[in-house]
Each structure stands twice: as structure tokens, then as C-alpha cells.
């Protein structure tokens, strides 16, 4: 990853490994808290994505699975960058004071990732393109005989783009060079027009990936111990590896009303206060 120099990024040290489940759960709660505060400034944004992916980002970035200097990280759905900012601020990869500029005019922390986005090796705003780029990274590492992992974060909605399956087929065919490619899918079942199931049928997701020649696991994406076990299982064989993490845009927070638009959440001050209270309560 493109890890910034610490002095300019933060006065906090990079704390990559906090392996106990409780620390990771607390990191996930702090991701949600950061994201809530970032969204609250304008009252709307991609909060549901931060809520659904908080444990994924907490375990992947905070659990010591990624070597920030060596490994590459691809964020395919660029609007998830809010979760990246939120976790990066907790780990000393980003100045926490910068979070307040999220989505503001002129800010480097744009609401949908761009070439200016810090830390990531590749972020895509137009969906369905990240896996292909990650395969390019993995091929490059293989050609250069480098031992580094390529992590690609995808969302389930973008599985509707045919390019994802072109890429899945390619990676499987070139499996002898893809053993260090790991895909993590935030399967939160949400897209712009509503639940994915109201738009089309992506299921059975795990069987689809397996039929394309991938090793696939299908787990509860809010369970930090299951996520850690799945990440630990990378590189077991030479097949490309996909982790389907089942999540909810509510992040299973009690105060999120069931009627809320999970893709683009609007929160008023009452909901903001309730979210912060609930999240701080979980950290107490």
C-alpha cells in the first residue's frame, strides 16, 4: 500500500496487529463512530457501507493480515472509501483531524475514491473494475517473483457487472499465478434501487465463484473471529480465494430504522445522537 510517512499523517504509531477479538470489535465500533461523525456534517452519505464493512476493515487492517509496506490493497467500490478513512485514522495511517473534511470541496478525502485517495493502491468509482486491476497486480508480482499478497475488496452489487466474471474466469485459468490474490466481498445485499434481491438474483454467490474455479468461503461478515479465520486461511492452495462476508447496512445497530435507505443514508440529528450513544455504549 501507499503508506504515508508517519510524521505527516499522524502523531499516532501504526498499530497493525491487535489480534484479540474484543479489540477488533472495538475497532469496528470506532470505524462506525468515525463514519457517523463524517456523515453527520452533511447529514447524508455512504454510512451504510461503513456500517456493513466495519468488521471487514477492522480485521483486515487491524488484525495484522496485511503488511502495509509490502501488500497491495484494491478498493473496487470507491464509495466504500469512507470505511478506509475511518480505519486508517484509527491505525495512524491518516491524520484523524482530516476526517472532518470528508466530502468537502477541495478535500483529499473525496466521498468516492479517486486517484488522489491516499493509502490504497487502486480505487475504482465505476463499479466492477477492481478485480481486473488486482489481477494485473498479482500477475506483476508473479512476473517479478515478489512474495506479496494482493487484497481486493469488492461489494456484492458490483457482481452484476460482467467484467467481474470475466476477471474471475481469467484468475482461475491463471491459477498458478494467483495464489496470493484474496478477494473479500461485502455482501450487504444493498444497491441503489433497494435490496439486491429486488433487482436481480446474484445467488448462489459462493457456488458461482466455486464454479468459476475459486476457493470460496461464505461467512457472517460481522463476526470478527470468523473473518480472522478466513483471512488466516489465505494461500492454502494455488487457487484464487474469495471470502463472501454476509453483512447488513445497519451494521446490526439497534437504532437504525428498518425503513432507512441503506445505500445512501440520510441521518438527522436525533439519529446521529442515537448512533453515537449506541456506539459509545458498545465501547464503554
Amino acid at each position: 500500500m501507499r503508506v504515508p510517512t508517519l510524521s505527516s499523517a499522524s502523531n499516532r504509531p501504526i498499530t497493525s496487529a491487535c489480534n484479540d477479538p474484543d479489540s477488533l470489535r472495538r475497532l469496528a465500533a470506532r470505524i462506525r463512530l468515525n463514519a457517523t461523525r463524517m456523515i453527520a456534517i452533511q447529514g447524508f452519505g455512504y454510512l451504510g457501507q461503513a456500517f456493513s464493512s466495519a468488521e471487514i476493515f477492522a480485521v483486515l487492517f487491524g488484525g495484522g493480515f496485511m503488511d502495509f509496506q509490502r501488500d497491495r490493497f484494491v478498493l473496487s467500490p470507491g464509495h466504500y472509501v469512507i470505511a478506509l478513512y475511518a480505519v486508517a485514522a484509527e491505525l495512524g495511517l491518516l491524520d484523524p483531524a482530516e476526517l472532518a473534511t470528508y466530502g468537502a470541496d477541495g478535500s483529499a478525502l473525496e466521498a468516492i475514491g479517486t486517484e488522489r485517495t491516499p493509502i490504497v493502491d487502486l480505487v475504482c468509482g465505476s463499479l466492477g473494475q477492481g478485480l481486473s486491476g488486482a489481477i494485473g497486480f498479482a500477475l506483476g508480482s508473479h512476473l517479478a517473483a515478489e512474495t506479496r499478497d494482493t487484497w481486493a475488496f469488492l461489494s456484492d452489487g458490483e457482481m452484476e457487472e460482467g467484467q467481474v466474471w470475466e476477471a474471475a474466469m481469467f484468475a482461475s485459468h491463471h491459477r498458478d499465478r494467483m495464489g496470493r490474490l484474496i478477494v473479500v466481498i461485502d455482501a450487504n445485499g444493498s444497491q441503489v434501487d433497494g435490496p439486491v434481491t429486488s433487482v436481480t438474483t446474484l445467488e448462489p454467490l459462493a457456488e458461482k465463484w466455486r464454479s468459476f474455479g475459486w476457493r470460496a468461503v461464505d461467512i457472517d461478515g460481522h463476526d470478527v473471529e470468523l473473518l480472522a479465520a478466513a483471512f488466516r486461511d489465505r494461500g492454502l492452495d494455488d487457487a484464487p480465494y474469495v471470502i463472501i462476508a454476509r453483512t447488513e447496512t445497519s451494521g446490526r445497530l439497534r437504532c437504525i430504522p428498518s425503513s432507512i435507505d441503506g445505500h445512501f443514508m440520510k441521518i438527522d440529528q436525533a439519529l446521529e445522537r442515537a448512533l453515537i450513544a449506541e456506539l459509545q455504549g458498545s465501547l464503554a
Binding site: 487502486l122 473494475q129 494485473g136 506483476g140 467484467q163 470475466e166
Partner: protein, 326 residues
């Protein structure tokens, strides 16, 4: 003959960072030469152009120089968003090579890249190049490898003429006077497959008392504004000739230069007149869709308002391995 395939292979022997990516058209894009000698740096993406562009972008970010090869229709129309977002916006060192320009394909509208230049020219950071012969093609392969950033290279497949001598020097962003004179009533600006027709038209016009001269503009973006505007200033009418729709390609680029320089002289665009074509031989299609030597002569003759009967271009024979202008 395969001038591109040999040049790419020679380049890859020298530079280990050159990789070759194809879309199930390996022999057709002359990259069987690369595949057979350097298989470890050759990747066949199959018929999956969107993924092919994305993989190229990842390899470029990792420090490689990917040459992506397929037909021009497939590597522009099919994956425009991928090129825009994964290659052009980040300004990555990816060379997109599209074969069978314009009506050089007998395969009908599905295989005829008639607006590929317009699409690629509109993308920020993108360089667009179309060579006219084998010598220029070889030089371009090396030049674009040395040029950091995305390039769209538009290449003729199969018969390639030899127009230039060994003293020809291609340089990105430079157009050059091809003669037969240094000024005249008619300036013809052309590139690629239209160069033989432009030269033939200039000759016929000259033999009939209308002096004409030709500028070769292999770099369509960035256009050589200085050369084209100074040459245009030495003429009474400018003809832009392209094997492409007249919207958004070389003719449009020349029009922009002339308009911004406030040149008060006519421009005529010879090209495909905003329509899709059909299947057919190159000769038939170039005749039918107005890409012939006679079409250039007619544009000049009518544009200058010459009253006497228009001369007729002689039918030319193709040299071995080349093609004759229609």
C-alpha cells in the same frame, strides 16, 4: 511482413518490462511472434476486453509496459469506461493497439472502427497515433514505449505499403511535409491509409494545373498545431482525409486548429460521412463511402470552385505486399 509484431518482439527482447496482452486475436494482431518467443510475458485475456484493459492497468501500476492488442472496434467501443477510468484518468503506461482501422475491414459495421479516433481523442492524457507505412510503424513502437502514458495506436492489418525511406523520422506530436512541393493551392492533411491516396491526388491535381502538397500527421493527438497551421497558411484550401467518420477525427482536429487561428479559407473533410458502412472489399468500400483519391480531388476541385472539368485519377497498381489507393 508483420512490421508491428516484429518491432514489438524486438522491443520486448530489450526491455523486460514490456508485456503483451491479447483478446483472442493473436495471429491477427501479429503478436503470435511475441507469444511464441516470450510466452511468460504474453497473456491472452480471451474475448473479455473490459477485463483485459483492467489487467493491463494493474500491470502498468506495477511498473510494466503492457501492449494490449485486438481489433480497433473491440478495444475502444467495448471497454470505453474501462479505458477512461482505469487507463486514461490515472495516465497509466498502457499502449492500446487497435487493428483494422475504418473501412479496411470487410466485416461490416461490427468490425469497422470508424469512430475509434474520436473516442480516444476525447480522453484526457491519451495520445492517438496512426502510421502510414511499415517504416513508421516500427519507429512508433519504440517511440511509444519511451513515452510515459497511455497511447492508442491504430494499425492496418495485412498489406502495408512502404512509403518512407530509412531516413524517415517519426516523432510523437510531429507532422511532416511529404511534398511533392512545399506550398500550393491545396494542402492535403492525412494519416494512415489515406496517405497513398493523398499523394496520388496531389499528383493528379498538380498535373492539371492545381498545385497541391501533402502533410502526414501520424499523431492525431496531440496534433502538430504549428506545422499544420503554418502549412495551411501556405494554401488556399485545406483537405483533411481520414479513414474514419468525419466527426471527431483528424478532420475535426484540423478544423479546430484552423478555426482557432481564425484562418479565412475553406476546409473540406474527406472521410465517412456520419454513417455506418457495410461488408465488402476495401476497394469497394473506399469507393462507396468516399475515401478514394477521386474524392480528395473532387473536394479540392469543388472547394476551389474550378469551372473546368475535373481530372480523373489514374488507377494505380499495388506494389508487392502493399495496397493501391482507391
Amino acid at each position: 511482413m508483420k512490421p508491428y509484431g516484429h518491432a514489438l518482439l524486438a522491443l520486448a527482447r530489450q526491455r523486460k518490462e514490456v508485456v503483451c496482452i491479447g483478446g483472442d486475436l493473436t495471429r491477427q494482431t501479429e503478436t503470435d511472434l511475441f507469444r511464441d518467443e516470450i510466452p511468460e510475458r504474453f497473456f491472452n485475456a480471451g474475448m473479455a476486453e473490459a477485463n483485459m484493459i483492467g489487467i493491463a492497468s494493474g500491470l502498468a501500476r506495477a511498473g510494466y509496459i503492457p501492449f494490449v492488442n485486438t481489433f480497433g472496434v473491440f478495444c475502444t467501443r467495448r471497454c470505453f469506461d474501462q479505458i477512461a477510468m482505469s487507463v486514461s484518468y490515472p495516465g497509466l503506461n498502457v499502449k492500446i493497439v487497435g487493428f483494422m482501422p475504418g473501412l479496411s475491414s470487410p466485416g461490416g459495421p461490427s468490425h469497422q472502427a470508424i469512430e475509434d479516433v474520436a473516442l480516444m481523442r476525447a480522453l484526457p492524457n491519451m495520445t492517438v497515433i496512426e502510421p502510414a507505412d511499415a517504416i513508421e510503424t516500427r519507429q512508433i513502437v519504440n517511440a511509444i514505449a519511451d513515452h510515459p502514458g497511455p497511447v492508442y495506436l491504430r494499425l492496418k492489418r495485412g498489406e502495408i505499403p512502404l512509403i518512407f525511406g530509412d531516413d524517415h523520422r517519426f516523432e510523437i506530436g510531429r507532422a511532416q511535409l511529404l511534398g511533392p512541393r512545399e506550398d500550393g493551392e491545396v494542402l492535403i492533411v492525412a494519416a494512415g491509409m489515406m496517405i497513398p491516396a493523398a499523394l496520388a491526388a496531389a499528383r493528379t491535381l498538380g498535373e492539371n494545373g492545381v498545385s497541391a502538397f501533402v502533410v502526414n500527421s501520424p499523431t492525431i493527438k496531440p496534433l502538430d498545431v504549428e506545422t499544420i497551421s503554418s502549412m495551411a497558411a501556405r494554401s488556399r484550401i485545406v483537405i483533411a482525409a481520414e479513414n474514419h467518420t468525419i466527426i471527431g477525427g483528424l478532420g475535426s482536429a484540423v478544423a479546430e486548429v484552423m478555426a482557432e487561428a481564425a484562418m479565412s479559407k475553406p476546409l473540406r473533410r474527406v472521410g465517412i460521412a456520419d454513417r455506418f458502412a457495410e461488408s465488402g472489399s476495401r476497394e469497394y468500400l473506399f469507393h462507396r463511402y468516399g475515401l478514394g483519391t477521386q474524392d480528395i480531388i473532387q473536394a479540392a476541385w469543388n472547394g476551389l470552385g474550378i469551372g473546368k472539368p475535373m481530372p480523373v485519377a489514374p488507377v494505380l497498381e499495388a506494389a508487392a505486399g502493399a495496397y493501391a489507393p482507391v
